[in-house]
Amino acid sequence: MRDVAVVAFGQSDHVRDSAETSEVEMLMPVLHDVLAQTGLAARDIDFTCSGSSDYLAGRAFSFTMALDGVGAWPPISESHVEMDGAWALYEAWVKLLTGEAETALVYSYGKSSPGSVRDVLTRQLDPYYVAPLWPDAVALAALQAQALIDAGLTDPQALAEIAARSRAAAVTHPHAQLRGEVPMGEPLVAPLRTGDCPPIGDGAAAVVLAAGDTARRLTDRPAWIRGLDHRIEAHALGVRDLTDSPSTRLAAERAGAFELPPGHQGTGGAPMVDTAELHAPFTSQEVVLRRALRLDAPDSTVCVNPSGGALAANPVMATGLIRIGEAAARIQRGASDRALAHATSGPCLQHNLVAVLEGE
C-alpha cells in the first residue's frame, strides 16, 4: 500500500459565536495557513475534499459557498462528504492510494452558533420513531453515562476528573474555547453536569495530505498514516450496549493500532501508541473509548487528549478532523512517535474512525 502522510494541519480559533464571519471567512485563513506550511499553492493540490453539514448551516448546498474560499478556478478535482471532516480525510486518503493524486487538501467547518445545536442534532435520529420525540444529544449522552455508572464503570467524580484533565491540558492551547479551571456546574441532564459537556462553538480545520517522496519534500517530519479504518454500528440505541464501542475497537484493529511496529517490544495489550486523540464530546464517552481501545491496560502509558479534546473545543463537523490533525501535529513537532486519532459521528458514538499515525 502506498505511503500517505499528513504534512500540514491548521485550525481556527474556536469561539462561542462567530456571527461576524461567514463560513468562508472562517475557513480561508485556515486554508492559507496549511498551504503556507507546505509552500503549495491552491493550484498545486491534486484533490480537495471537505466535510460539513447543511443542517448546521441552515441551507441546502452550504458547501458550495465554502468552495469559493478554496478558489476552484481553474476547475479542481473535488468532493464533499456530509460527515465530519475525518471522513473527508478518509476519502482523500483513498484517492491518494489509487495513485491518481499526490497531494490532497482536506477541510471541514461547522458553526453551531446560529441555531440550537442540541435540537439540530436530533434530526440525525430515526425519522419515524425517535426524531419526533426530539431527544437531544445531551440527553442521549446522559443515558450512556448512566449506563456506565450503573455498570460500575465510572462515577461522577471520575467524570469530573476527565473534564478537569482535558481543560487543564488546553490551558496552553492557542485555539481552545474552554480551558483551565471550569466548574462542573449543575446537572444539565443527570448524571451529566455542564462540565461534562463540550462547549458549543464555531470553528474550522484543514489538513494537507501527500504521498511518498512528495510528503518528505513538503515537510521535515511527515505523520505517516499507517492505518485508517472506520466502522458503523446499529442506529437504534436499544440494540446497542452503550457502555462499549465495538466499532471503535474493530476500526482500531483494522488500522493496526494493536500491532507491534517493527523493532518494538511490548505485550500488545494496549495500543502501541504514545498518544491518543479521542473524539469524546462528553466525559462519559472518553470512558467508553478508553475501554474499547484498552487504553487503561496495566502497561499502558498512552497520553490521552493532550490537546484538551472535544471538551475544550467542539466545532461540530470539524472536531474529528482536528483529532487527526492534533495527533499529526504532535508527531510533526517531535512530541510523539506513534499516535492514534479517533473521530466519531452519530448518537452515543454510533460511527467511529481510527487512524494510526507515525513519524519516521
Partner: protein, 388 residues
C-alpha cells in the same frame, strides 16, 4: 502499483414514482440494494463497505441519514460513507465507491443513492432565503432558464429543439420499466402545447419529482470472474468543480464539464467520443441541456449540438443514443439521478438494459452535474476489461 480494475456486477433500482407512501426511507433503499445484490447473486455478507449519496438532507428532513440507514443497508460492523456533491452526487458516490476497490482498500462495495422527494418539497428546499446571497428563485428551473436562453442566442438553435428532446426521452421511458413517467399518449404536439414554466422551459421539458433509489455492486477482478452476468468495467472516472458565480464563468458550457470529460477520455483512451462511444446517459433535467451537454462533452462542435438532436442522432435507434432509459426528464429522485445515469450506462454495456438496450453497445458514458452547473462527475464503462 497499478490500480485494481473495477467492475460493476450488480445494478438495482426501485420503480421510480412520485410518492412511495408504502415504504420508509429505509425500505426504499433496501429495495434497490436487494435488487443489486440479486443481480450480482451476492448476499449482504459479501459486501465489505457501503457508500451512499443523496442531495441536501433538507429534502427528507433527515440529517446525515447514513446513521439511520446503517441497519437497512447491512452496514453494521462495516465502513459507511455518505457523499454529497449537489446534483452530481449520484455519480460522485459511485466514483468514491470505485476508488475503494481501485485502491484495494475493499474488494466488494455496495454503493447507493436515493431521494424521497415526496417527504418534502425540493423546490422550496432549494429556495431558503440566505442573508447577503443571491436567491435561487423558485428552485432549479428559475436558475437554469436564462442559461438555456443564452445557449439559444449563442447558437441560433430553433425553439423546437427542446420539445424534441422531451418527446424522445419520454418515449424512451416507455421502454424502461423503472422509469417514473410512462406517458403512453405522449405526442410532440402535447409537449409543445404544455404550459411555459420558466421561459423557454415548458412543463413537459422539465424533470419530474420522484421517489427512488439506485444501487450498484462494484468489485475487483476476482469478484467479476465469479459474477453470473457480464460485468461493466470502469475505464475512466473523474470529478471536477468550479465556483458557482465568477466573472468569466461560462454557464452554457462550463470549463469544469469540459475538463472532467477530457480526464475521463484520457483515462479510457477515447480520442473521438462521437465515434467511439455507443451510448450516453447524461444528466438532462431540462430538455435543452441535451444539446448543451453534447457540445460540452465533445460529441459536437460548439454551436452544433442542437443539430444532432434535431436530426435524430440521439434517438434510441440513432447513431449516438442519448438517455435510452428516458433520462432525468422521465425520472428524477434528485440524489439518485446521477447514479441512475452511471448505472444505466453499465446496463447498456452489460447488455442488460432490456427493451431500451442499444444494440451492440460496448462503451457508454454516464454523466452527472449539479449546483450552478459547477459540479461534474462522469465515468466511462466498457464491456471489455481495461487493458492492464
Amino acid at each position: 502499483m497499478s490500480k485494481e480494475p473495477v467492475a460493476v456486477v450488480g445494478v438495482g433500482q426501485t420503480k421510480h414514482v412520485a410518492a412511495r407512501r408504502d415504504v420508509s426511507l429505509a425500505g426504499l433503499v433496501r429495495e434497490a440494494a436487494r435488487r443489486a445484490l440479486d443481480d450480482a447473486e451476492l448476499t449482504w455478507a459479501d459486501i465489505d463497505a457501503v457508500v451512499i449519496g443523496k442531495a441536501p438532507d433538507f429534502f427528507e428532513g433527515v440529517m446525515m441519514p447514513e446513521l439511520y440507514l446503517a441497519d437497512a443497508l447491512g452496514a453494521v460492523g462495516k465502513p459507511m460513507l455518505r457523499v454529497h456533491t449537489a446534483g452530481s452526487v449520484g455519480g460522485s458516490t459511485a466514483l468514491v465507491a470505485a476508488n475503494l476497490v481501485a485502491a484495494r482498500v475493499h474488494r466488494t462495495v455496495l454503493t447507493l443513492a436515493f431521494e424521497k422527494q415526496s417527504e418534502s418539497n425540493a423546490m422550496w428546499g432549494l429556495s431558503l432565503p440566505i442573508p447577503f446571497q443571491q436567491p435561487l428563485l423558485a428552485g432549479a428551473g428559475g436558475f437554469f432558464a436564462p442559461h438555456v436562453r443564452a445557449y439559444m442566442r449563442r447558437t441560433g438553435a430553433p425553439d423546437s429543439v427542446g420539445s424534441l428532446v422531451a418527446y424522445k426521452d419520454r418515449r424512451n421511458a416507455l421502454k424502461n420499466p423503472c422509469a417514473h413517467l410512462h406517458e403512453h399518449d405522449i405526442t410532440l404536439e402535447k409537449v409543445q402545447a404544455s404550459p411555459m414554466l420558466w421561459d423557454p422551459i415548458r412543463y413537459s421539458e422539465t424533470c419530474p419529482s420522484s421517489d427512488g433509489a439506485c444501487a450498484m455492486i462494484l468489485t475487483d477482478r476476482t469478484g467479476a470472474a465469479r459474477a453470473p452476468y457480464p460485468a461493466a468495467w470502469v475505464h475512466g472516472g473523474a470529478m471536477r468543480s468550479e465556483p458557482t458565480l465568477f466573472a468569466g464563468k461560462d454557464f452554457v458550457s462550463p470549463q469544469a464539464g469540459k475538463d472532467c470529460a477530457a480526464d475521463v477520455y484520457r483515462q479510457a483512451g477515447i480520442t473521438a467520443p462521437r465515434r467511439q462511444i455507443d451510448a450516453v446517459e447524461m444528466y438532462v433535467p431540462f430538455s435543452w441541456y441535451e444539446p448543451m451537454w453534447l457540445e460540452n462533452l465533445g460529441f459536437a462542435e460548439e454551436g452544433e449540438g442542437w443539430k444532432l438532436t434535431e436530426s435524430g442522432v440521439t434517438e434510441l435507434d440513432g447513431d449516438l443514443p442519448v438517455n435510452p432509459s428516458g433520462g432525468v426528464l422521465s425520472t428524477n429522485p434528485i440524489g439518485a439521478s446521477g447514479m441512475i445515469r452511471f448505472a444505466e450506462a453499465a446496463l447498456q454495456v452489460r447488455g442488460r438494459a432490456g427493451d431500451h438496450q442499444v444494440d451492440g453497445a460496448r462503451r457508454a458514458l454516464g454523466h452527472a452535474y449539479g449546483g450552478g452547473s459547477q459540479f461534474f462527475s462522469m465515468w466511462l464503462v466498457g464491456a471489455d476489461a481495461p487493458a492492464a
